[in-house]
């Protein structure tokens, strides 16, 4: 367990380094900020103002120190304020975090529908139902999310006028109608994946020795399936569903843009368009951090659910 947490901390530090070097070595932060045809003098002045004329390792040390103390994401002193919003980039991102998390959780809950579908498919592998589910799950996984969002907008919001096209009015009870379409857009991909995962883990469990033993004992097919197979398969299903939650943090970006949902994805895209570097680094870092925290939790739950897996005993 300690090993796993230490590993996560290492990855966070690696991530910060990656972010820093991506911005400072692949590109020049000031040049990313100003217009392409800005005069050389302005660029040099800005370099001096924000301390980018110092050597790289000094800046990296400064960056790491600023991250560790107070966790402000700055690449140099005076560089942690959003250029567009004139606000602290970190608080700006954290304000948006609940919105993205709410959307992700809603879609994730809806996506649990995939589990029973997978179970039904796994009862008769290669049967008619299974083949149908197989094609269907791959179909929903192959739909481009932004296209599905546009189609839903066109049919539900524009043609049928059932729901508002886009917007946001808080996460309270008044804002539910704005949340329906983004959730329905996000869910299918994960429903498909959940069904595939469930089917695969159930079939995997069925092929194990203890199933034959249970059958030899004279247990009914249903008792074997629900009492043994499903119980054991649920361990991997639960953990893999946790992974899917992490994937929403990524997938929500496009959906947030189309439905004007004020989450971190929308913030990130607006920041990229406005060349608002502090906000970009802050949101990339927070999203990646969220993904990692979820992954860590999933791994810990996994060891707790399945005592056979232990991180200490790994090679």
């Amino acid at each position: 367990m300690i090993r796993r947490v230490a590993h996560s901390i290492f990855v966070v530090i690696g991530l910060m380094a990656l972010l820093f070097f991506a911005i400072n070595i692949l590109g020049d932060p000031i040049r990313l900020l100003v217009d392409e045809d800005a005069p050389e003098e302005t660029i040099r002045a800005l370099h001096q103002k924000y301390g980018f004329d110092r050597p790289l390792y000094v800046r990296f040390g400064d960056y790491l120190a600023s991250l560790l103390s107070g966790c402000t994401l700055r690449c140099s002193p005076d560089f942690d304020k959003s250029i567009v919003y004139k606000k602290d980039a970190r608080s700006l991102v954290l304000e948006r975090l609940p919105n993205t998390a709410a959307l992700a959780l809603a879609a994730w809950t809806l996506a649990m529908v995939g589990v029973p579908i997978g179970i039904v498919a796994a009862r008769r592998p290669r049967g008619v139902v299974d083949r149908f589910v197989n094609v269907l799950t791959f179909a929903v996984v192959s739909i481009p999310e932004f296209w599905l969002a546009l189609m839903l907008l066109l049919v539900v919001a524009v043609k049928l006028e059932l729901l508002p096209t886009s917007g946001f009015s808080g996460l309270g009870p008044g804002g539910w109608q704005y949340m329906v379409l983004p959730t329905i857009t996000l869910a299918p991909r994960v429903i498909g994946r959940n069904a595939q995962i469930t089917r695969a883990s159930v079939i995997d469990e069925i092929s194990k020795g203890y199933v034959d033993t249970a059958r030899a004992k004279g247990l009914s097919e249903n008792a074997v399936f629900y009492g043994h197979v499903l119980k054991n398969a649920s361990i991997s299903i639960v953990t893999l569903m946790g992974d899917e939650l992490a994937s929403f943090m990524n997938g929500a970006t496009v959906v947030e843009i189309i439905f004007a949902w004020p989450g971190m994805g929308l913030l990130l895209i607006n920041a990229i368009n406005a060349r608002d570097l502090p906000v970009i680094t802050a949101s990339v870092f927070v999203i990646a951090l969220m993904v990692m925290v979820i992954n860590l939790m999933v791994d810990l739950i996994y060891t707790w659910l399945d005592p056979r897996i232990s991180y200490e005993s790994q090679e």
């Binding site: 590993h7 290492f10 990855v11 690696g14 991530l15 380094a17 990656l18 972010l19 991506a22 911005i23 692949l26 590109g27 990313l32 008769r124 592998p125 290669r126 049967g127 083949r131 197989n134 094609v135 791959f138 179909a139 996984v141 192959s142 739909i143 481009p144 999310e145 932004f146 296209w147 546009l150 189609m151 907008l153 066109l154 524009v158 069925i206 092929s207 992490a246 994937s247 943090m249 990524n250 997938g251 970006t253 496009v254 843009i257 990130l268 895209i269 990229i272 970009i280 990339v284 999203i287 990646a288 993904v291 990692m292 992954n295």
Partner: protein
Amino acid sequence: MAEKTASIQQQPNRVVAFWRLPLVQAFFSEPVTLVSGIFITLVLLSAIFAPMIAPHNPTDRQLPLRHLPPISSGVATDRSVRPEIQEKRFYLLGTDHLGRDVLSRLIYGGRISIAVGTLGVLVSGCIGLVLGLLAGYYRGLVDDVIMRTVDVFMAVPLLLLALMVIFILGPSFQNIIIVFAVARWMLYCRVTRGVVMSLRKQAFVEAAQTIGCSDRRILLRHILPNLITPVMTIAALDVPRLILTESTLSFLGFGIQPPESSWGTMLANGRPYITSAWWVVVMPGVAIFLTALSFNLCGVWLRAVSDPLQRWRWLAQTAEAKEAGVRTP
């Protein structure tokens, strides 16, 4: 003369032999895989021979004919010749907001989507393969450095990493390939490393070491051939993912830049007109969807066939085997 007859007689036999291969049989007996395989072939052919297949010039603007619905025709002005001539043109999938033929644009856009998908997989696959070989074969410090880097890269979601790299490098076709190389190599690296580690301990590798083969020879001659199947399987399933990601990037304006256009850019361009001309948004979406689906279905078939345990299930077509699929592996 006698030789000639013999070779003619051999021809059909070879075809029959190919037809009778279990793998080919399995491919053709699986209607879903067959249909998706045919679809991929069609998309590939139309991408390669786009100038011959496309009914019209994809960039030819006919402003008076803008937003023509699918299956309609209009009188277009051919401005490529002097004096200009009026001609009647048929538009199978309609025209977009500048009067360009949607079908022709789809055919040309497919070139980019397919190229991005396959090149992205190829480049990231090669990088991952080489690093995975090194990590799995030499272990120690090399392995630690490579695998910790993999861990860091795995933590960043694909779209996020893509947006970040595109922001720094600027959007273009090459940079999208670079993005995919940067964002996907870990996938192949991990699998390669795992396979290499298990192969390394096997007798044939140890034998090769004993007779004094160089590391390079062992890696290229003995280990690499065993990696083709697992890596191919991941690659096949990653192509649709990259196609989808490219279309998302292009849709957001961070992908392919005009004048070139991919399916994603077509969708983004059509978005403002979605209520008045649905086809400019629906058609590219359907193209992306069907291509990604076909690649996914073929990829999963490839995975099933390359897995010895599952291959048995797929190849055995008797009723008994179908029943046994439930009972025994």
